[in-house]
Structures are given as C-alpha cells and as structure tokens.
Amino acid sequence: MTTIFDVPVQAFLGQLLIGLINGSFYAMLSLGLAIIFGMLKIINFAHGAQFMVGAFAGYLLLKGIGVGYWPALILAPLVVGLASAAIERIALSRLYNLDHLYSLLFTFGLALTLEGAFRYFFGASGQPYAVPKELAGGYNLGFMFLPKYRAWVVLASLVICIASWLLIEKTKLGAYLRASTENPTLVRTFGINVPLLLTFTYGMGAALAGLAGMLAAPIYQVSPLMGSNLIIVVFAVVVVGGMGSILGAIITGYMLGILEGLTKVFYPEASNIVIFVIMAIILLVRPAGLMGRDA
C-alpha cells in the first residue's frame, strides 16, 4: 500500500476530504460573519443558530409539506434571511448607538433562545436528512471513493463564496455597502437608505448561514445543537483571517479546515484545538490577522 509519512494514502485523502468539507462550512460561515461585522460592526453570535435553523427549515419543508432538496436550497436561506432581517429591524437596530457589547449579548441571547426553542420542540437528538437522489452514490477515483454529495458541497461553497465576494467587491450594491462601512453619514447625504442597507446586510449574512445549514443537513444530522460548537471555531477562523476581511475569511476557512483534517491524520489528539493554537500564534505574530487591516 502506498503511504505518505507512514500514513496510508487512503486515510490521508479521506481526512483531507473531510477537512475540505469542514473548511467549506467554515468559509461560508465566516464569510457571513465577516460581511455582517464589516457593515454593522456587530459580532453575530446567533450565526451558529441561524445555520441550525437553515438545516431545520429544510428538514421541516421536507417533512411538513414535502418540499424537496432543490427548492429547499433556495427557500430555507430565504426563510432564515427574512426572519433575521425582521429581528434586525425590530431589535438589533436599536442597539447600534450603544456599546458593541450589547449587540453581541443580544445575538447571544437570540442564539440561546433559538437553540432552546428547537430543543423544546424537536428534542436534542439529531434527525437524518436523506441525500437527494441526484447526488446519491459517488465516484470511484481509483485511489479513493468520493461521494457525490460531498463533491457537490465543496463545489457549491466555492461558487457561493466567489459570488459573494464578487457581489461585494465588483457590483454597485457592493460599492454602496463598502461606502457605508467607511462613512455612513456621507452615504446618507447621497440619498441612499443606509438603515435599509444594514437590514439587507444582516439578512444576507444570516441567509448565507442558513444556506450553509441546508447544505450541511445531509452530511451532519439536523440537530438543535449542530451550530453551537461550530460557531466558536468560526470565530477563531475570522480572527485568524482578519476581522471584516471577506477574502481573508474565505481563504482562512478552507485552509484551517484542511489543516484540521490533516491534524486528524498525524496527531488526532490535537485536531480539536489546532485551529485555536494557530489563532494564538497568529495573534502573537500578527495581531490584525492574516489579511486584516489594523483596527
């Protein structure tokens, strides 16, 4: 059997793939966090809960009214995005003039509430979500077996990340968003509705989390707690990438996911903490993060 550093090549590639999958979710989630942070200057603690709600929305659409995977892929993020936009309008927008602490605490409370509510209605155990039949099965690449669905998730997340990046960096809407990050007052004098833009941004960031949740539903089980531990890893990813840097969030997400997978091969005991260790090192060497400007 072929080996790389005394590790069978199949185990190596298998973990690499798992790392790539996790990295895809880290990238999508940290992207949403970075977008929300860049615009609203709030840390969205509810991001993990919104990820979970996205998965549950898909699950309920299927179980409740028989809506399949593909329509749910659009509907679930839409539900999450609209609900989150409403919450932003009703509650979060009142906290912008206060210390950032309060918006962080509010979203933390929101996360607890969502998790508690879903646990109350669905219990703490996971619900399976079947892989859509178009994506069932896999490819035999000769040296390893690649499930179709996993390939699709990696591909989809890449497309989503690139599209979001293009939307923010290259379109007029993105230009408005970036301008209001720099100077909201000036942008308002040009007649642009900045509060609406903020609501839209929060909704979009949350919808990205919901979409990630929907993509994750067939891989991880749909459970009320699926987002709560993920979110902290994603925080670390955002710190490493540089807060508010969208490209940094995406690249770091994939990189750290793969690194975590590789750690599982070579030193499994450390796989849970490798991301945090890297975060600590980055903070010592480059406090602003890999691609962040100093805040």
Binding site: L104, F108, G109, L112, T113, E115, I273
Partner: protein, 329 residues
Amino acid sequence: MNSQARIASSTRRPLLRLETILLGIGVLALVLAPFYFYPIFLMKVLCFALFACAFNLLLGYTGILSFGHAAFFGGSAYFTAHAVKEWGFSPELGILVGVAGASLLGLVIGFLAIRRQGIYSTMITLALSQMFFFFCLQAPFTHGEDGIQNIPRGHLFGFIDLEQPLYMYFFVLTAFLAGMFVIWRVIHSPYGMILRSIRENENRAISLGYSVARYKLGAFVMSAALAGLAGGLKALVFQFATLTDVSWQMSGEVVLMTLLGGIGTLVGPVFGAALVTGLGNYFATSELPVTLVTGIIFMICVLVFRRGMIGELYASRLGRRLSRRDDED
C-alpha cells in the same frame, strides 16, 4: 479640621451610616440564611455570586468583556478537585492550588486577549477558553465526560469538618466575603481608578503615561484568580468537577448574571447570580429548556433593562442619594 471639611463630613455621615446599615443587614441575612433555606442552594448562589463579581471586576471596572471566564472557574474546580482527591491536600490548600492554576490561565489568556481591543479580545477569550475545554475533554486527570466525582471535603485547617453542611456554608460565606472585600478594596484604590480611566478612555490613559497593557493584564489575572476561588469552592460544595463548568455556556451564564444585576455595580452581580441560579433550579424540573428561558431574559434585558437591577436602583432617586458619596470622592 477646617469648617468646610466639617460640613462635608457632617452631610456625609448619615449616608455613610445608611450604607453601613445595609451592609450589616446583608451580612446578617447571609449568616441567618442557612437556618431557613437549603444550605447547598445558598452555597451555590454564593459561589456564582463571587464568580459574577470577579467577572464584573473585568467587565464593569476595566471594560473588557471576557467570554471565557468559565475556563478559570471550571479549571480551578478541576485543579482543586485533583489536589484534594488525588494528592490528599487539605481543602484550603486545594483551593489555593485552584486559584494559582486559574491565575496562571488568566495570565496566558489575558496576555493574548489584551493584544486586541473591544470585541476582538472578547472573541479571543472565547476561542482560548474553548481550547481549554477541549484540553479538559481529553486530559486524563479530568476523567473526560465523567468528571472528577466524590471529592472529599476534608477538614479545614485540620479540625473543622466540612462534611457538616453548616460548617461548609460558613466556610464558603467567609471566602465569599473575603473575595468581595478584595474586589471592594481594588475598585476603591488608585489602581481601581486607573482601571476605570482605561474603561472610559483607553487612549487618554495611555497618553497620561499609564502602561495600559500591564494594568489590564493585572485586572485580568485578579479577575481570573477570584473566579478560580469561586470555582474551587464550588468543586468542594458539590464534590464534583465536570465539563459543564468549563463550557462556553457557563461563560455566557456569568455574563447574564452580571448584566441582570448591573454591570459596574459592586453588589449587582450577587443579585443577578441569585436570580439566575434560582431560575435555573426552578426550570430544571420543568419541560422548558433552561437555555430558552435565559435566552429570552438576555434579549429583554439588553433591549429594555440594560443597567440591570442594581444599576436601575442607582439611577433612581433613592439610588442617587445613596451613591452621592461615591461622586464626591
């Protein structure tokens, strides 16, 4: 004494007396409480109250929001438990080990966290404490999911049997009051004033020549040590140390206690801790998950009730009279 000073002191005295009376009533209530309430519950409240006050020293008086205080609290619980159970230490030495461990953790986490400001440092504390959580999950001495169980309470100073609930209660109460005294002393010292100036305007404090990083780190370590004291006590009270105490949900809970009681008030977190612990006990037996209840309280508190219970009291007319002495200082 000149006449002006005499006038000032004569207007101060009645207020000072009122504060002393309130303090006396509070301590008396705590001394009498175990004869009317379940001592274990009271001890739990005292442990969390001290934990919340330690946290508040950092958030309320230095302006650093740590979302990783569970690492100090739960870490110390593990260290104390290990020292007492495996090494056969006496309870007071065991708690000392816990406090020392928590301080060391505070030094490391604090050193990294204060490299950034505001919300960034919050995220760093959160991530580092989560790293500590995974360490506890895998390190052999914590016994993973089982935790350390059946910790002997032992004999305090060799002759006070802490297995007696009442003796244990008064031990916890003494430690709690000592911890509160340290916090009170710190925030009313020149050092505490510098901490407050950092909270209000960090750049200005730097321009005045204070080495802000060192002060912040000092506050961080002190807060971690006191949280460690609370954690060590809790391990002895319940006779077990588990992963719950190091989880990030615990860090969130202490934030809630402080917020509910009143950020930046000396006794607010005590009331916040009593309320949250009471609610936790009440909802533990009901169908509703506790997180749902705490989450809703969190959101309401942030939206309409930001000053917390004691903070609102201070902002009211009675409170303004009570706190006037503080403003004059």
